[in-house]
């Protein structure tokens, strides 16, 4: 992780580590493993101003969290997904896998459906930004893969999420 960060940072000419968000996944297909793949900002894509520092920070963030029984995306989630949409468009050889998750309450199969809705919400948004649907692969793990094994609102909030992962075609 830190090696990847350092490489990407070098490409961009240095930003503070503090901007880089929490843990993304560590797949072998992670685009940041390749130092030649920098970010090429496309002006106007976001329809809003975004510094390259913020863009990098968001690109390293690959988890979208959800409220209880919700698959709604917040403004901040959309800002995050804009960055990933652009990255996908800039890197046509990459696909994205989106995994939806829920908290531990209720039926396992019903939670699979809720997790799928979260993954689908992310996929639909990326599509709306021009990413072809056939490059987005969704799966729901329902409540089968919690990151926080505890019970209670704090653990549940951590577990209600969609996780983005880049992968080679």
């Amino acid at each position: 992780m830190s090696f990847r960060k350092i490489v990407t940072l070098a490409v961009l000419g240095g930003v503070t580590l503090g901007l880089i968000g929490c843990g993304g996944s560590k797949g072998a297909n992670d685009p940041f493993a390749d130092s030649s793949e920098g970010i090429k900002p496309v002006s106007g894509f976001y329809g809003e101003h975004m510094s390259s520092e913020e863009e990098l920070g968001l690109l390293n963030k690959k988890i979208v969290y959800f409220a209880y029984d919700s698959n709604n995306l917040t403004q901040a989630d959309m800002r995050l997904l804009n960055v990933h949409a652009k990255y996908l468009l800039d890197h046509p050889k990459l696909d994205m896998r989106i995994a939806g998750h829920t908290d531990e309450r209720g039926s396992r199969e019903y939670n699979i459906a809720l997790g799928q809705r979260r993954a689908d919400a992310v996929a639909r948004y990326l599509e709306s930004k021009g990413v072809p649907a056939n490059r987005l692969h969704t799966i729901s793990y329902g409540k089968e893969q919690p990151v926080d094994l505890g019970s209670g609102e704090q653990a549940w909030a951590q577990n209600r999420r969609a996780v983005l992962e880049y992968e080679d075609k």
């Binding site: 309450r105 039926s107 396992r108 199969e109 459906a113 689908d120 729901s140």
Partner: protein, 445 residues
């Protein structure tokens, strides 16, 4: 560093032992405390006789009487009397002192003997005696021939089945099996296993061990296969042969492949797919491979369960806003809502007579419990009372529900009678157990 590791190892070994003790201990503990629930019955130790083989010696075997007692007690329909240290040990009805057993509080008495036939084979005799009937004919008088000691445990379950059926009028489930999933969370990866075991939790065996989550095991009606969901990079519905572990993948569409449910005749599999948008109920003909969608709309439809008559499927849907149970008639496609109590009803199953609905129900306090709804009058009764109960599966005789429950950080299996009066925990030696599935009646013995 090494010392820390060793220390950790010792600690975790200690915890493992402790956990096993904790899990194993409730075998005979009635959580609800309904100690005198059911028919009082005394099961005497089976007498060992050498019979025609004077050189035969008593063999180390499973204690048949103890297994029968355990079966009957854990069914929730019997109160098994403690017969340790009693001074009478009749071998058959002619030797029974009826007055003594009336005083003892027994309504029924089981006596038996094991007779060696040589060559390692045994005949087992037993009698079921009604203490209040007042005549000299036993209710049951059975001889089972030519058994090896390794078969005694299965034989004991068979005897329990006969006794249960004679005294309750309903077929016993003691010779059936259960499946369940265990999770071992390691530092590097999580190991998920599909286990099968006897209905009392003994003879457990992993038939599948994989590094990705598996879900929703369901026995085929002939008891030979288990359908399940695998959540690898993509979800898929698979079928595993219980005997040889051979696997077949049935579906692997984009999105959800979930909630498999065998039709009562085993020719079709209902399932949930989201390949066309929202999760919907589909029926796959296992012979022709024809796939038919049976529900429509933009809401979540999931957890199909076939009505025992095969004409309709009950399922969970949030088409009314919150998850509730609906029924779709397969011929017409007509859908009706069947639950109205509470804001969360899911995981439906029906009793073999089709008259009662078992489901996951959220109580007014917000707890998730197992509940039974009478389909005639719509009345709902919760039969469990922890916080996060789930995954109810009904015994093939419709008298008991096995389910998943949480106790602290542990996931365990519990069993409860349909009236909620008797509850127990299954003695499974794993830390995290989930998603029990009760087998159908099996043709054996």
């Amino acid at each position: 560093m090494l010392r820390i590791k060793l220390f950790r190892l010792i600690i975790s070994a200690f915890i493992m032992c402790y956990v096993q003790l904790v899990v194993a201990a409730p075998l005979n503990i009635d959580i609800t405390g309904g100690k005198n629930v059911g028919i009082p019955i005394a099961v005497l130790p089976f007498e060992y006789a050498t019979g025609s083989d004077p050189f035969a010696r008593a063999v180390e075997t499973d204690d048949i009487a103890a297994i029968i007692r355990n079966d009957l007690y854990n069914s929730g329909h019997f109160y098994t009397l403690d017969v340790q240290g009693i001074d009478t040990n009749p071998a058959d009805i002619k030797q029974v002192d009826f007055g003594y057993w009336k005083n003892f509080g027994a309504a029924n008495l089981v006596v038996g003997r094991i007779v060696s036939r040589g060559g390692g084979l045994y005949d087992v005799y037993f009698e079921l005696i009604d203490i209040y009937k007042g005549n000299m004919e036993p209710l049951l008088n059975v001889r089972v021939s030519d058994k090896y000691p390794e078969q005694f445990r299965a034989l004991a379950h068979y005897i329990s089945d006969l006794i249960f059926e004679k005294l309750t009028g309903v077929r016993g489930f003691f010779s059936t099996r259960i499946a369940y999933i265990t999770i071992e969370r390691g530092k590097e990866q999580t190991i998920n296993s599909l286990y099968v075991a006897d209905a009392d939790g003994y003879n457990s065996k992993a038939i599948l061990t994989v590094p990705y989550p598996i879900m929703s095991p369901r026995w085929s009606p002939n008891g030979k296969y288990i359908a399940y969901v695998a959540l690898g990079k993509q979800s898929s519905i698979n079928v595993i042969n219980v005997t040889n572990g051979k696997r077949d993948q049935l579906t692997k569409y984009p999105g959800i492949n979930g909630a498999p449910a065998w039709s009562p005749d085993g020719s079709k599999l209902a399932m949930v797919l989201s390949k066309d948008g929202a999760p919907k109920i589909y029926v796959l003909d296992l012979e022709t491979k024809e796939l038919r969608r049976v529900t429509s709309g933009g809401a979540i439809d999931t957890e199909p369960f076939w009505d025992p008559n095969g004409q309709s499927i009950v399922f969970t849907s949030n088409r009314g806003g919150k998850p509730q149970i609906y029924r779709v008639i397969l011929q017409s496609g007509a859908v009706e809502r069947i639950t109205y109590t509470g804001d969360y009803n899911a995981t439906p199953s029906l009793t073999p007579d089709g008259k009662r609905l078992i489901m996951l129900h959220q109580s007014e306090k917000g707890a998730y419990n197992i509940a039974v709804q009478d389909l005639n009058n719509g009345k709902v009764k919760s039969i469990t009372s922890a916080n996060l109960d789930e995954s109810p599966t009904l015994a093939p005789n419709g008298m008991m529900v096995l389910y998943g429950l949480r106790d602290g950080d542990q996931s365990l299996l519990g069993a409860v009678t349909l009236d909620g009066k008797f509850r127990m925990r299954l003695p499974l030696q794993a830390e995290n157990v989930k998603e029990p599935a009760w087998s159908p009646f099996l043709l054996k013995n």
